[in-house]
Symmetry: C3
Subunit: 145 residues, 3 copies
């Protein structure tokens, strides 16, 4: 298969992977979200906060982080767009580096105007038993730049 | 062709289909939008409102619904992202289930700050004479959750 | 290769091209952005303003345009979605016509609420030495419609 064909397949697969991954997060299924990370996965979602590690650690972190919405429910949607993938698989051995924009849309019940946060997501993706997984994720916030 | 290659082609085709379909809607060409549905297509865009059925029914519904903008013109853009497709074609016979986020951007003439609505779109897509068509669409609004 | 496979590869390539192109622009690397245009490329980003031409011209235009942010720094993100490509390569000889939505997200340091502009981008893309380049780009703003 040509390198262009390989990149095309990987590009669509990463888009699809992100859609499923973030549907899980936005649906509040934190263990299912954590299962999209490798066993030793690392997730750094807020600058200044220690990264969460391992699936159990990521799950616990998300339950903890989302407690702030308990008294103020909000439906969040993470829109990942403008994905840049740095090379196809098998080039080097450090996994696939993926950088994309994330627009976080937060809607409160009955509200007519969602709130937004603009971020950049820096991922390393690896393939385990045929499936893509996130090995590490760092989220940078535009407002802090 | 491998299942991965089939999914890649379907994924790109669905993205392209949505782009063309929503350009028609946002351009105000309601009959052309309705033509992207099957002859017996069903479109449920507002909770509590009876779904529109058939192309003629969908067209009529859109003309009716958009009358509210007659005295208050607005340019709408439907941004479909984070598309999840549940399986490739030929698996089961109920069509392709596609779920995606829709961010609706509404800009008024001369306005510097668009308004937004965040939705989730639930589609069943089928292939008729080689072309993808929407068999049914249900739109859920985040603000009502 | 089938026409569907060709379109799939082109569609993913255009998405990837746009991601890399706009990461350069949003990162403030104007010469690198200009290098994604053909040598005779044309960039019309604001109605009523003369289009910038050639890579040097586009670079100069961007430095000039961005001076307005010098005293009021802002992180911009250009989210290109809903891409429609009009045919595959080799059909006709005028390049690939690509039309997409662009949501521009502007975040100020420390700000919790980004500002937005909704646009439609009209591109002609061509392939030079194997790589996609923008031959011409015209940006229409929804607020002016």
């Amino acid at each position: 298969m040509s390198e262009t064909a390989q990149m095309t397949m990987l590009y669509a697969e990463v888009q699809h992977f992100y859609a499923r991954q973030m549907h899980r997060l936005d649906g509040g299924d934190f263990p299912a979200y954590a299962a999209t990370f490798t066993l030793d996965g690392e997730f750094s979602h807020t600058p200044g906060r220690e990264p969460a590690r391992t699936r159990a650690g990521i799950t616990a972190e998300l339950y903890d982080f989302n407690q702030k919405y308990a008294a103020d429910p909000v439906q969040r949607r993470h829109l990942f767009t403008m994905i840049d993938i740095d090379g196809i698989e098998g080039q080097g051995d450090g996994g696939i580096r993926s950088t994309c924009y994330a627009l976080v849309v937060k809607t409160r019940p009955g509200s007519d105007s969602p709130e937004f946060t603009s971020c950049v997501v820096h991922d390393v993706l690896v393939r385990v038993d045929g499936e893509l997984l996130t090995k590490s994720r760092r989220v940078d916030y535009d407002k802090l730049m």
